[in-house]
């Protein structure tokens, strides 16, 4: 489904990703963990080209997305992204946040788009907030709307960049719950997270990143229960 080959990313002189190879299978949930600054966000953002790739290749469903000939806008409709800071559109109501992209890009008419939006709001448990504005919602509710907004494009993969890090502890659960349900429905997901419990419970695979490399990867039980690499051990020792 996603295949990354020898991915390098520089910011000017700073090399942030130093050659990453990996694959995500369909319906797989991959959790990415690692210390701050290790390149997790950069890695995730490369997968829908929010960051320009310096070197290497990324394929989604066999299409090389960092080929200049590829229509990146089309690719992005298939790759949903959820941000740490939600990034909802503050000038639009909740329902307009969700219907905007399908109407603009898929040419859905308003009625169909709103029906789709209401279904998605049901899914994230926020039907009654359809006509509210984002700033009238709690952080957890905003993030759930952001997930619904991404799902409205019917993506084949969802990328999450620390979706619960900006939330008060009591709101983390409601967002993780929505993500868990998504995983159960068979969505392919790549999740950068500090929620080790989530990685353990929902993840099919855990990647540990450090210093621009994938240092260790494997089934959550193995990585958490019996880490092989010294750096993984040190990191897990601190966070668990």
């Amino acid at each position: 489904m996603i295949k990354v080959e020898n991915l390098h990313k520089h910011f000017g002189k700073l090399e942030v990703l130093k050659g990453i190879d990996y694959e995500v299978q369909e319906k797989e949930v991959v959790c990415v963990i690692g210390p701050s600054g290790s390149g997790k966000s950069t890695f995730l953002r490369c997968m829908n080209l929010l960051e320009e790739v310096t070197d290497g290749a990324i394929y989604i469903n066999g299409v090389q997305i960092n080929d200049p000939k590829t229509n990146i806008n089309e690719i992005r409709t298939e790759v949903g992204m959820v941000f740490q800071q939600f990034n909802l559109f503050p000038h639009m109501s909740v329902i307009d946040n969700i219907t905007m992209a399908p109407m603009q890009i898929r040419n859905l008419n308003k009625q169909d788009a709103e029906q789709l939006a209401m279904e998605l709001l049901d899914k994230v448990g926020l039907r009654e907030k359809a006509d509210n504005y984002p700033q009238q919602l709690s952080g957890g509710q905003q993030q759930r709307v952001a997930i619904a907004r991404a799902l409205a494009m019917k993506p084949k993969v969802m990328l999450f960049d620390e979706p619960t890090s900006a939330l008060d502890p009591e709101m983390v659960k409601e967002v993780l719950e929505v993500m868990k349900n998504l995983a159960k429905e068979g969505m392919t997901m790549v999740v950068v997270t500090h929620e080790m419990g989530f990685a353990r419970e929902v993840g099919d695979r855990v990647l540990f990143m450090d210093g621009g490399y994938i240092v260790e990867q494997g089934h959550p039980e193995d990585v958490f229960g019996n880490p092989q690499n010294e750096r993984t051990k040190a990191f897990l020792g601190k966070v668990l």
């Binding site: 929010l50 806008n73 409709t77 941000f83 990034n87 559109f89 603009q104």
Partner: protein, 233 residues
């Protein structure tokens, strides 16, 4: 009441028709200059946030030149040099005046647009692009609507500044408020009444604009939501 006897307001009254024309000219000059300046300024502002050097630099240089030189000089150049050179003869003060005001206010508006666009959190653009919107769709649907709200107060100030600056069109014999006052002053050799009245007219106009801007600002307030909650099936 000797003080009031000093004034001979009938001078103004005698020239009421000319003043009405002058007032109209000021309004038309300002309105045309402003609307044109907004449209052209938006293009320049978008140019100034462009990553393409061929778009960025011309926009940037234009804005710096027009902000860095006096409007008075620009008006004289346009009226006496640029337009006669291009068209072979003067096209009259209406054309020169409106063109000058558009070109000048566009430069100031461009700065307002640039600052407004750049003040929007870059997560907004990223969220829009990650949904698959093109850059221009994201600009139209996400960035500009938010930026416009923030730009209303400075754009309102720009409107008032332009209204007052339109008096400079006097130097190319544009028959607006100030020009009429000069005519009256010259005819009667009285200076208090015509110029005080000119000041009064400008004051009334700027006051009206201030009120208008405040009204618009309130209407587009992000929390102002005239749409009632709809019943949804």
């Amino acid at each position: 009441m000797e003080f009031f006897d000093f004034f001979r307001w009938e001078i103004i009254w005698n020239y009421r028709e000319l003043y009405a024309k002058g007032l109209w000219a000021t309004i038309v000059l300002t309105a045309c200059g402003y609307i044109g300046g907004i449209i052209f300024g938006l293009l320049l502002g978008l140019g100034q946030v462009s990553k393409k050097k061929l778009i960025y630099w011309p926009a940037k240089i234009y804005v710096d030149v027009f902000r860095g030189t006096p409007l008075l000089v620009q008006l004289l150049l346009i009226h006496l040099a640029v337009i006669p050179t291009i068209f072979g003869s003067s096209q009259g003060w209406w054309v020169s005046g409106i063109v000058g005001l558009i070109l000048n206010s566009a430069a100031y508006n461009a700065e307002i647009f640039r600052a407004g666009i750049q003040s929007i959190d870059k997560g907004q653009m990223e969220a829009a692009r990650s949904l698959g919107l093109t850059h221009s769709q994201a600009m139209r649907k996400v960035i500009l609507p938010q930026a416009f709200r923030r730009m209303i107060p400075p754009l309102g100030n720009e409107f008032i500044a332009l209204l007052k600056d339109s008096s400079l069109v006097t130097v190319i014999a544009g028959a607006e408020i100030l020009y009429v006052s000069k005519v009256v002053a010259g005819t009667y050799q009285r200076f208090w009444e015509p110029y005080l009245f000119a000041a009064f007219l400008y004051l009334v106009l700027t006051y009206a604009v201030t009120k208008l801007v405040a009204f618009i600002e309130k209407r587009v307030d992000i929390n102002y939501n005239p749409r009632k909650k709809k019943e949804r099936a």
